[in-house]
């Protein structure tokens, strides 16, 4: 699920083959060295040590040869990795561009408008069409983070003041987990994101739905929850499109109920986990920038009901 061996993208597959090759060669060399070491240890038991020009001549030849072979192998591995780097390029045509901004400790995801759908913003979950080249523009707004979805591609740092580009191409549909790979402070451990690879049609439907404003509730409890959300500090940091909640320091919650996880991969999205997270984020993810907002249990139920309907 989050493994370099479970290669499901073009880059990851190229890298997997390279890694298998290099690991194979290196394991072989290690075995040879250890074999030689133990041969040397048992060979002359009980015999006098050899000294002098004559004894050393043959050994010297073997050492020269070993050094030469080492050099050749090392040069070979350098070339192999050079060619693997070339194979990572999937072509210049990009079907989709997504801008991802890392921040402490979640991912802001902005889709650029394309033939696949309009422009919209979401968080902590990335959907991509299978077999398409997706250009990721990686940025950071605070400290250095690193974008890494091992099943799809190698990692790339997100550095404030710079933009790095990474191309993803998923070869098979599926859900792939990724995680921040550069130490970024207190909650570095809980900064994950999900990449959902789906076929063109599914992706288009998803993108169209994401671009819409939040659904207007008709249930009374949900309506009450919406009112609580707007009345309490929630709306100061989060955006729910189509309402007066326009905060930008926290993740966009317009379709939070439709995402697989909340709090950057911390919990699976259920009404219960939404309530638990809202009630006490500082226990679940100590140090997160989301404060404990005092809510009555009734308000908490209403808010979580509202969150759950934001599909």
């Amino acid at each position: 699920m989050q493994s370099a061996w479970d290669a499901q993208g073009h880059s990851a597959e190229v890298l997997k083959h390279l890694m298998l090759g290099i690991i194979g060669v290196c394991t072989l060399i290690w075995l040879l060295v250890v074999l030689m070491l133990f041969a040397a240890l048992v060979k002359r038991r009980g015999q006098a040590p050899l000294q002098g020009e004559h004894a050393e001549r043959k050994t010297r030849l073997v050492v020269y040869l070993s050094v030469a072979v080492t050099t050749i192998i090392v040069a070979g591995l350098t070339l192999a990795s050079f060619f693997a780097t070339r194979d990572l390029v999937v072509g210049r045509d990009m079907d989709l561009t997504v801008r991802i901004k890392g921040q402490q400790w979640w991912w802001q995801v902005t889709y650029e408008g394309s033939s696949f759908g309009p422009r919209f913003q979401t968080a902590n979950e990335l959907h991509i069409p299978v077999g398409r080249n997706v250009r990721l523009e990686l940025e950071s707004i605070d400290v250095i983070h690193s974008f890494w979805v091992p099943s799809l591609a190698g990692k790339q740092d997100m550095i404030p003041g710079r933009m790095n580009v990474l191309t993803l191409r998923a070869e098979r549909p599926g859900v792939y987990r990724g995680q921040c790979a550069e130490f970024c402070g207190l909650q570095h451990s809980h900064m994950a994101l999900m990449v959902v690879a789906q076929d063109d049609d599914q992706y288009r439907r998803w993108a169209q739905a994401q671009a819409l404003d939040a659904a207007v509730p008709d249930d009374t409890e949900v309506q009450a929850g919406r009112a609580v959300f707007m009345r309490k500090p929630c709306a100061a940091c989060h955006t729910v499109r189509g309402t007066e909640a326009q905060g930008s320091s926290g993740p966009d919650l317009t379709h939070v109920g439709g995402r697989r996880t909340i709090a950057a991969g911390l919990l699976e999205t259920t009404r219960g986990s939404l309530a638990a997270w809202t009630a006490d984020p500082q226990t679940l993810k100590p140090g997160t920038n989301m404060p404990i907002v005092p809510l009555t249990s009734e308000e908490l139920q209403q808010v979580s009901a509202y969150m759950e309907t934001l599909k």
């Binding site: 699920m1 989050q2 493994s3 370099a4 990851a12 190229v14 890298l15 390279l18 890694m19 290099i22 290196c26 394991t27 290690w30 060295v33 030689m36 070491l37 040397a40 240890l41 002359r44 038991r45 009980g46 006098a48 040590p49 050899l50 000294q51 004894a55 050393e56 050994t59 010297r60 050492v63 070993s66 050094v67 050099t71 090392v74 591995l77 350098t78 192999a80 990795s81 780097t85 400290v143 250095i144 690193s146 890494w148 091992p150 190698g154 990692k155 790339q156 550095i159 404030p160 710079r162 790095n164 580009v165 790979a181 130490f183 970024c184 402070g185 207190l186 570095h188 451990s189 140090g287």
Partner: protein, 638 residues
């Protein structure tokens, strides 16, 4: 001194019997008894012993932190240690192991062994040596005090900006870290300069460059690396602290600074740092190995050349720590090639050791066991090093547990194993007592097995996508089994170290008496009694061979003509080691201690106010003036 002393004739060792020389030298070179005598001593052996003991105390503390981390990671979403404390712990573990254990302990071994191995009576600049130890002790204590105060650095031992910068790292935590770096820089630089000058100017007559023991060569290369790498980290830590305290803009992209500048500066030091730790260790291997195979080392010249090549190449591959920051393709290829190339000199050394073993008859004493463990482990670390040297490979394993496994194989396998072997080997020289062979075998076995069981699975975890520096992980991730296994295995490793320390403490008091040369070794340090007297050699030896203590020679030729009524050493030429001059060596002095205290006071105060640099400089100046004040002793007049 009075005029009578001045015209009295020099007391030279030429005219005296051995017993008489010994009496004079003991008085001249000795350390005065009592507390202040101990503080004032400049005997390189005393200082080095303190250095080694202090570094091993830091090793124990760092090891305890590692166990705490393993305890936390043993199960998913564990709430044993909160993230704030965990981040402090892993930062302390890395910083402590690199700056307070590995580098100082290698420098300390150099301080102990180099003068003995090159046949002189003390290091060059012995007072600087004392100063260096006090600075190191204070710097290390400062870091641990900050940990006790819950104000320890929490940004990783690499302290990447902007996380360590003014905006994202409030409080004094990072300032303390940056200032601690300054302390260790100063002490390491002092040692490096002492070693270089000692080796180049104080070798025993006849020890031309091609007769220097490989360990001494390794220490020289290490010292040059320190001299060239430390200024980089010095600049980095100073600019970081300026950014944080004074508001300069070195690392602020909005004002024309650059976050990546820090990484370049840090790794330009950080990569040679690995070899600063590793080269002395391989030097130890090359110097111990001949003793246990009964023949000289194979390929002396190749080994020395490999050391020098490694030392130079190590400055050309720092960028391989930055393969995922978004490099131009050309840069990637260059640094892949250079990182791969360093495998060649490493290979040369391995092959030379294998050839030595092949031609010799191994005697399986504890130091040789550690050497075997070293070769097996280090070659594996080297192989994973080749893997991470490849940019595409690295993009999948960078900042994962694969890298954690890799550098523990290189640093523990490549440096700590030889170091433990070296402790078993030189312990008799330092204390006059042997360590236990039985306990030694147990220690080796437990450490070797515990190490591999602990660190090998980390390779797999890394490939399974577990990033470094996480304080916990979620239960649904497939890492919990291996993590629990690693945590349990780490206890075996810890037990091995416990046995080792028990052996050290027991042997210190109750070990079997060792005699001057218990291993039948051939280098000069074994020509002195164990432990060596304050003056090291009764008479300065003359070297005629790469292995001066060959068993067939009964007597070591010696040089005479040095004064015994004052501290005097022989200065020789750089290449041929021909005698050039008699040079005086400084007396014991309390002032290096006060100078270190004054310097520390200034550096710590400067975290709180920039004015400290001005006002704090006054006591430093006073201490330095007292340090260098001519006191009319014979040494000062020469």
């Amino acid at each position: 001194m009075t005029g009578v002393d001045r015209i009295s004739p020099d007391v030279l060792d030429l005219d005296l019997q051995d017993a008489e020389v010994e009496r004079h030298l003991s008085r001249t070179w000795g350390t005065s008894p009592g507390f202040w005598g101990a503080i004032a001593t400049v005997d390189h052996k005393v200082i080095a012993r303190r250095y080694i003991a202090t570094a091993f105390v830091f090793l124990i503390l760092g090891g305890l932190l590692a166990l705490a981390m393993r305890l936390q990671l043993a199960r998913p979403e564990s709430r044993l240690i909160d993230p704030d404390r965990y981040n402090q712990i892993f930062t302390m573990h890395g910083t402590n192991m690199m700056f307070l254990f590995a580098v100082p302990v290698m420098g300390a071994m150099a301080i102990y062994l180099v003068p003995l191995m090159v046949g002189t009576r003390n290091v060059a600049f012995p007072r600087l040596n004392a100063f260096s130890y006090w600075i190191f002790l204070i710097g290390g204590s400062l870091l641990w005090l900050s940990f006790a105060l819950d104000a320890a650095p929490d940004v990783g031992w690499f302290a990447y900006v902007p996380l360590s910068g003014p905006q994202y790292s409030p409080g004094k935590r990072t300032d303390l870290w940056a200032q601690m770096i300054t302390f260790t820089e100063v002490s390491a630089l002092a040692i490096a300069i002492e070693v270089v000058v000692t080796v180049f100017k104080q070798r025993a007559p006849g020890m031309s460059l091609d007769r220097i023991p490989v360990l001494v060569w390794a220490m020289v290369v290490m010292s040059f690396q320190v001299i060239m790498a430390m200024p980089s980290i010095m600049f980095a830590s100073t600019t970081l602290i300026l950014d944080r305290l004074v508001g300069t803009q070195f690392y602020n992209p909005a004002e024309g600074g650059d976050a990546l500048l820090w990484q370049h500066l840090f790794w330009f030091f950080g990569h040679p740092e690995v070899y600063i730790i590793f080269l002395p260790a391989v030097g130890m291997v090359s110097s111990m190995l001949p003793t246990f195979v009964g023949r000289p080392i194979f390929g002396y010249l190749a080994l020395v050349m490999a050391l020098i090549t490694t030392g130079i190449l190590s400055f050309g591959l720092w960028v391989h720590h930055m393969f995922v920051v978004g490099l131009p393709r050309m840069g990637e290829s260059f640094f892949t090639a250079s990182s791969m190339a360093i495998a060649v000199p490493a290979g040369i050394q391995i092959f030379c050791w294998l050839a030595t073993l092949w031609l010799g008859r191994p005697v399986f004493r504890v130091p040789l066991l550690f050497i075997i463990g070293f070769i097996v482990t280090f070659v594996m670390g080297g192989m994973t090093g080749v893997m991470v040297a490849s940019v595409p490979f690295d993009t999948q394993v960078h900042d994962t547990y694969f890298v954690v496994a890799h550098f523990h194989y290189v640093l523990v396998g490549g440096a700590v194993f030889p170091l433990l072997g070296a402790i078993y080997y030189w312990f008799p020289k330092m204390t006059g007592r042997m360590m236990s062979e039985t306990l030694g075998r147990w220690a080796f076995g437990l450490i070797f097995v515990g190490f591999h069981l602990t660190f090998f699975p980390m390779h797999i975890l890394g490939l399974q996508g577990m990033p470094r520096r996480i304080y916990t992980y979620q239960p649904e991730l497939p890492w919990s089994g291996l993590n629990l296994f690693i945590s349990i295995s780490s206890l075996i490793l810890a037990l091995g170290f416990l046995v080792f320390f028990v052996d050290v403490l027991r042997s210190w008091r109750h070990g079997l008496p060792a005699g001057p040369n218990p291993w039948g070794a051939s280098t000069l340090e074994w020509a002195t009694p164990s432990p060596p007297p304050p003056y090291n050699f009764l008479r300065i030896p003359v070297v005629q061979d790469r292995n001066p203590l060959r068993p067939e020679d009964k007597e070591l030729p010696v040089a005479a003509g040095l004064r015994v009524d004052r501290r005097e050493l022989l200065v020789t030429s750089v290449v041929e080691a021909l005698p050039e001059a008699r040079e005086s060596s400084p007396q014991n002095s309390i002032w290096p201690f006060w100078a270190a205290l004054a310097t520390s006071f200034m550096l710590v105060w400067s975290i709180f106010s920039p004015w400290a640099v001005v006002w704090g400089a006054i006591p430093v100046a006073v201490a330095l003036i007292a340090w260098f004040w001519p006191k009319g002793t014979p040494e000062d007049e020469a």
